[in-house]
Structure formats: C-alpha cells, structure tokens
Symmetry: C2
Subunit: 252 residues, 2 copies
Amino acid sequence: MAHSPPAVVLVRPREEGNVGAAARAMANMGLSRLIVVEPAAPFGKVAEMFAVGARHVLESALRVPDLRTALAPFRRIAATTSTRDRTLTVPLLTPRELPAWLAAAGAVPTALVFGPEVGGLTNEDLALAGAVVTIPCSPVQPTLNLSQAVLILAYELFLAREAGLGLPASAASADTAALPPATAAELEGLLGHLTEVLTRVGFARDESFPGVLTDLRQLAARAAPGSREVRILRGICRRTLGALARAGYGDG
Amino acid sequence: MAHSPPAVVLVRPREEGNVGAAARAMANMGLSRLIVVEPAAPFGKVAEMFAVGARHVLESALRVPDLRTALAPFRRIAATTSTRDRTLTVPLLTPRELPAWLAAAGAVPTALVFGPEVGGLTNEDLALAGAVVTIPCSPVQPTLNLSQAVLILAYELFLAREAGLGLPASAASADTAALPPATAAELEGLLGHLTEVLTRVGFARDESFPGVLTDLRQLAARAAPGSREVRILRGICRRTLGALARAGYGDG
C-alpha cells in the first residue's frame, strides 16, 4: 500500500490537449488516477488525440467542482509551483525528493496537484498541500507545459518505485507523526470547526482574517496531524464553543 | 567546455507541434541548439504556439537533408530508442547515466538524437550513435511523446549541470581514449575509405555487405577513436588501396 501511486489533480486546466498529454504522460509512468477540478476544458477529440495509449485514464477521470472536494480523501498532498514562494511554510521539495516524502509510513492515498496553464496555483490552492514541489529549470524560461510538469514528477516516482524505494530511514525519523496523517477532509472539518470559534470570538470580522485562515491551513497541512489528533483538536473547539455559549458570549 | 550543453537532433519529425513543444522543453532546461533532419514538418503557427518562450530555439534551428550531415561536427552522440535492442553493441544508458557519458573528457560538441513520432530511429540511424538511451517507463504504455522524451533527457542533463558534474572519476577511467574522440565527419571519412577497400577486394558485392557496414559503423561509434587514430586507420586504407592498385587487383 505504501507504494500505491498518487492521483494526479489538474486544477482548472484550460486546454484539453494538455489534459490529454498529461494522461499520456501518466500512463507512460504507470499512473492512472486523474482528477480534474472545474472549471476545466471538456474532453473532446483533441484530448483523445493527445492521450495516445491513455484513453482509459481520460475515461476514468473524475471531474469535481473544487480543489477541496478533489483532495478530501488524500493523506499526503504535494502541489507544484514554478517559482519558490518564500512565504510558504511547508517543505519545498525537488522532484527527486518527492518520492521519499510521499512514501512516509502509511500516508496513502496521496495526490499531486498541478495548477492551470496560466498563473498556476493560487496561494489558497497551495495552502491545501503539505509540501510544494518546484521543478528545477532554466531561469530564462522557467514555465513548463502542464503535461511536461506531470511527466517529470511521474518519472521521478516511477524510478523510485522501480528502485523499490520504501521509506528511507532518514525520512522515517524526520517524520514526527507515527500514525497516518489525517485526510484532507478531516483537516477541513477541523478548520471549519476552528473558523466557528474564531467567528464566535469576533476575530472573523478582522480584515486580516482571510490571510490568517490561509496561514492556519498551511500550518495544518505542514503539521500533518493524525486522525486522533484532529479529533482532540475538534474536541477543544467544541468545548470552547460550549463554554462561550454558556457564558452568553457573542450572542449580543 | 566540457559542460557545453548538447545539440538536440530531431530526425524526420512529422508534427510541427511536437517540434515546437520540444523547443520549449529545451529552453526550459537551458538547451538551445536544435537540428531538424528532413523530411520534416515545416514550422508554422502551430510550432510557434507550442514553442512558448522558445521561439528563438525554433528560429535558429538548422534543417539538414540527412542524419549524417546533422551529426558531422559532433564527437559524442547519444540516440534514443523506446525498446532496448539486444543486437546493439554500443552502451545502453538510462537518462540518469547520460550526463556522465556525455561529459567524457573533451568530448564536445555533443548531440542527442530523437527519432520520428512513428517508428523511431532506424537501425541505420542508431548505428551513428556511440550510446543508446532508453527512458524507463511503464511496459503497458512505453511510447513517450517526442517532446516528452526530449524533456526527460534535458532535465537529467540540467540537474547534472546544476550539480556541477564534471567528469566523474569512474567515467574518466572507464574511458580508454585519453584524447577527444573524432567527430562524426571524421568517422564517416574513415568508413568511406574502408568501404573503398572492401569494394576493391570484392566484399561489397557480398549480400551481407550492408549489414557488415552497419556493424563497422557501430564498432567505430563505440570505439570512439581519436582524430589521430582515425588518421592512422585511413593511412592503412590508403596504403592498402595503393598496394592493390600496384598489384593490379580489382582492375579486371
């Protein structure tokens, strides 16, 4: 199970040819689970033409309304950017470092997230990932085609699987969570609960609130709490909300 | 000079979109020298559309009538195939092994050769290369798009350059030629000279001759003789032809 290959999540792709070419690259490297986040190009003749030998990947692709829905079932999520954003607090990986990070004990299922052809992933998108991958390339022309980015990551993962990479000792010890991390859906539940508390205490009216929420989301993704830890944190939220209600706070 | 990036040679590409996408992949990974072997698609709007940020690569591309002309100036040549042909006698490399092989002492300029979208390189094409690279991928869908193959090799070379790979000690000692290998044009001259001898002695009429010539070509590519060694071998051919002529052999 630890070697179960990741899903590929394409966020709002504009060109169906790129989706087809990405499907082909996935099939080349033994990946098959494709998720496309709306709004996205419909898959027509052009997508099929580019998806040489990978029509099954296109046909079984899932289309979902937003990235959170796409990521809900996954326990380890890596997102891609073309530029290293210094404000990110999650680990910044190279493609070659990705397999060991994804292979952390029991952290399946996993997902790789790729942004739209123009502009890439937003900070809000990136905040949902536990790590960010940047593909090394020439500073003069640093923007890879979408399917090319998919290929590079899939290639590194393929080589690692071929080499029988399990969990390297260093990655195992670096990993603080002994238990499988919570799913994105569980984290989302925690953040929803926390937002409820922050709303109740009036913080949600603060104009810095959206930024703070993004920071909290990143923190959660980076910390990768386990399911039990998420339940404990939600217990704290519940108790806090109960106490506030009993005190009549925020009702007036 | 030992780090001078290789030229990319696309042999008879059919789709201009692939040429454009290959040019983009080259620019992404810091390569700029593109050679296209005829017959090839003309570069029009489609090629330009795919060559995002790499129009300069397309515009400066050289178009040549055949692969031998394309390869004449190069001293180390690696060709790509999707299937490992057991009859090849040259080294079979993975993309990750390619940088060290190309970086052999003084072996610049170097070239990477890619076949047409359908069918790939012929055995005759492959015989011009000193090594053959196969990109590891799923046996279920082993055929990469042309620009994807270019990207993988260019990516591995980029990483090796970034890591400051010079000539690893092992590659240096494995390399028998202390001097830079001859150019493809010099090897071609040698083979022409040798063919003259073989013709003179009647061997060229043998029906196995074309196959033998391919074997000799592969042997020459693999042996990678230096310029001085080529001159010595051609001296032997010249002396042999002279002796045959004096003996009146082959005139009757």
